[in-house]
Amino acid sequence: MNTGAKASRAQMRAADESGVPARLYGLRRPTRILVNGLAAAFALFILAPLVWLVINSTKSQASLYNSFGFWFSGSFQLWQNLAALGQDVSGAGVFTQWFGNTLLYAIVGGAGATALSALAGYGFSRYRFAGSQALFMVVMSTLMIPLTAVALPLFLVYSKVGLVNSVWGMILPSMVSPIGIYLMRTYISASVPREVMEAARMDGASEFGIFTRIAVPLSVPGLVTVFLLTLVAIWNNYFLPLMIFSKSKFYPLTVGLSALSRAAETGSKADVVPVLITGGLVTILPLIVLFVLLQRYFRGGLLQGSTTG
C-alpha cells in the first residue's frame, strides 16, 4: 500500500498542488455558504476553549469567578500568575518543577525511543536472522496491548524492585515504542538503498559504521517524526505517572495539574485556580508551537496509522 514514507510524502505534495478544481463540482451558493459555515463553526468550537484559557490566565481568582469567561476583567494578572507557577500555592507541589520533570521525561524518553526504534527498525528492515520475522510479529502485537493494562503491572514490578518514585521508572518504559519501530522500518526500507550499503561493505565499513554513517543521515526526517510522536505521547501521558509517582517532586505536568485541580476544588487555600489555568496554558504552548512549526513531520507519521496517545 505504502511504498514508504518518502514516496508517500512526495505523493502528498504532488496531490496538494493538483487537486480537481473545486469549481468543477458546480456547487450552488447556499451549499458553498453552508460548508464554509460548518468549517468555521467547528474551528470556533476548537478554538474557544483555548481562547478562554489565554483570557483567563490574565485574571485574579476573584475576577475569574465574577466575570464573563470570554472577556478580560479586573487588573492584568498574567505576570503574577506566571510568577505563582514557581511556588507551591496549594500544597500539591510546584508547577515549574513539574515542567522540568516533563521536559526531562519527554526529551530523554523520546530520544531513547527514537534511538531504539532506529536500531531495531534498521535491523528488521535490512537483516534476516533466525527468528527475525517472529520477533517483528511480537513487536507488532505489542501495539495492541492497551496502555492502561500495562501501567498497573509496571507499578507492581516497580514496588518490588524500588522503581516507584524514580525518574527511570517513567523514562525507561517510554522508550519502548512499537509504532516507532514500524515507522523506522518503513522509512529505512524506502530511503536506505541496499547497493549503497553493499558498496560501503566492499570498502571495509563495519555493520554498525554503515548504520551510523549511511542509514542515520538518510533517515533524518523519519527520526524527527518518531521523536516528535514519542515526545508528545510522553508529554501527554497521564495514567502511567499517576500510577508510579506518589511524591509531587516527581510529577509530570499532567499529574501535577490534576493534583492542582483537586486542590482547587477542595479550596483549602486561596488563588489556586489562576495557577491551574495559567499552568494549563504553559503546558500546551510548547507543544502547539512545536506542532505548528513541524506539522509535516507529524503528518508523515500519522499517515502510517500511529496511535501513541
Partner: protein, 294 residues
C-alpha cells in the same frame, strides 16, 4: 564468505536486541508478574496467600465493574461513529477544495492533538461548570435554564463533547491524507459522469478510504474502552458525579491504588485487556468478512 554471512546475521540480531530487552523488561515481565500476582490476595492479618481465580470471580461478579464496561461500550458506540463522521466530512470537504482557507482549518482542527487530555478536561470543566462556566451561562441566557453538565444524566455526554473536541482533528488529518492519495483522474471521471459533490464524496471517495476508516474505528474504539483521563479529571471538579468504577480503567486504578487491593486490581486489568482484545478481534473479523463479501 560463509563466516561473513553468520557475522551479518549476528549484527542484525544485535540491532534489534536493545529494544527487545527493553520490551521484555518493561512489558512482558510486568504482564507475566501481574498474571501471577492476580492469583494471590493480601490480607491485613495473615499476609499474602494463593487464592486461585478468586480475584477474577470477584471482578466478574462486581456490578460496579460491569456497569463501567457497559458505560464505555455505550460511550464508544456513540463517540466513535460521530467523531469519524465529522472527521470524514471535514476531510472530504477540504480535499474537494470547496472550503476557503482549508490549510488554516486543518491546522486549527489538529491543535487539540497537542493538548493533554488532562488540560482539555480542566478547560472544559471550567467552561461547563454550573453557574460559573461561560457555556452554562450562555445556555441560561438563551433560555435553557440552569443546565448541569455534571449531573448523572449529562456527565457522559459532557465527556463525549470533550473527547470529540480532542480527537476529531487527529482523525480528520489521517483521512485527509488518505483522500489526497486518490488519483484525481478517478474524481474527474465521476464528475464527467455527472456526479455531484456529495455522490463523489460518498460513492467514490468513501469506499476508497475504507481501509483507513476501519483502522481508525479500531484505534478509536480501543481508546474509548480505556476511557480514564477525562472522567478522572471531571471527578476532581464534581466528585459525586463519577463513581468508583465509572469506567473499567477507573475501576482498575481505584481498586489498586485507591483501596490498595493490588491483586484484585491486577485481575481487573487483565480482564479489561482481554475484553479490549476481544472487541478488537471481533471488529477485525467483521471488517475482514465484509471485505470478502464486497
Amino acid at each position: 564468505m560463509k563466516g561473513r554471512q553468520v557475522d551479518r546475521e549476528r549484527s542484525g540480531a544485535l540491532f534489534v536486541a536493545p529494544h527487545m530487552i527493553m520490551l521484555a523488561l518493561f512489558m512482558i515481565v510486568p504482564t507475566a508478574y501481574a498474571l501471577w500476582s492476580s492469583l494471590y490476595a493480601t490480607k491485613l492479618v495473615g499476609g499474602t496467600s494463593f487464592v486461585g481465580l478468586a480475584n477474577y470471580g470477584t471482578v466478574l461478579t462486581s456490578g460496579d465493574f460491569w456497569t463501567g464496561v457497559v458505560r464505555v461500550l455505550v460511550f464508544g458506540a456513540v463517540q466513535v461513529p460521530v467523531t469519524l463522521a465529522l472527521a470524514f466530512l471535514f476531510a472530504a470537504l477540504f480535499d474537494a477544495g470547496v472550503v476557503g482557507g482549508s490549510r488554516f482549518y486543518r491546522t486549527v482542527y489538529f491543535v487539540p492533538f497537542a493538548v493533554p487530555g488532562v488540560v482539555a478536561s480542566i478547560m472544559w470543566s471550567f467552561l461547563l461548570l454550573p453557574g460559573f462556566g461561560p457555556y452554562a451561562q450562555l445556555l441560561k441566557v438563551i433560555g435553557f435554564g440552569d443546565v448541569d453538565f455534571f449531573s448523572s444524566n449529562l456527565i457522559l455526554p459532557t465527556i463525549f463533547l470533550i473527547v470529540v473536541w480532542e480527537w476529531t482533528g487527529y482523525n480528520m488529518t489521517i483521512l485527509y491524507t488518505s483522500l489526497r492519495s486518490i488519483p484525481k483522474e478517478v474524481t474527474e471521471a465521476a464528475i464527467v459522469d455527472g456526479a455531484s459533490l456529495w455522490s463523489v464524496i460518498l460513492r467514490v471517495k468513501l469506499p476508497m478510504v475504507m481501509p483507513s476508516i476501519v483502522m481508525l474505528v479500531f484505534i478509536n474504539s480501543v481508546g474509548a474502552l480505556q476511557l480514564f483521563t477525562e472522567p478522572s479529571i471531571l471527578a476532581a471538579f464534581q466528585p459525586q458525579a463519577i463513581s468508583f468504577g465509572f469506567t473499567p480503567s477507573m475501576f482498575v486504578y481505584n481498586t489498586a491504588v485507591g483501596s490498595g487491593e493490588y491483586e484484585l486490581g491486577a485481575a481487573a486489568a487483565i480482564i479489561l485487556a482481554v475484553l479490549i482484545g476481544l472487541v478488537s478481534y471481533v471488529g477485525f473479523a467483521l471488517s475482514r468478512r465484509k471485505g470478502d463479501d464486497a
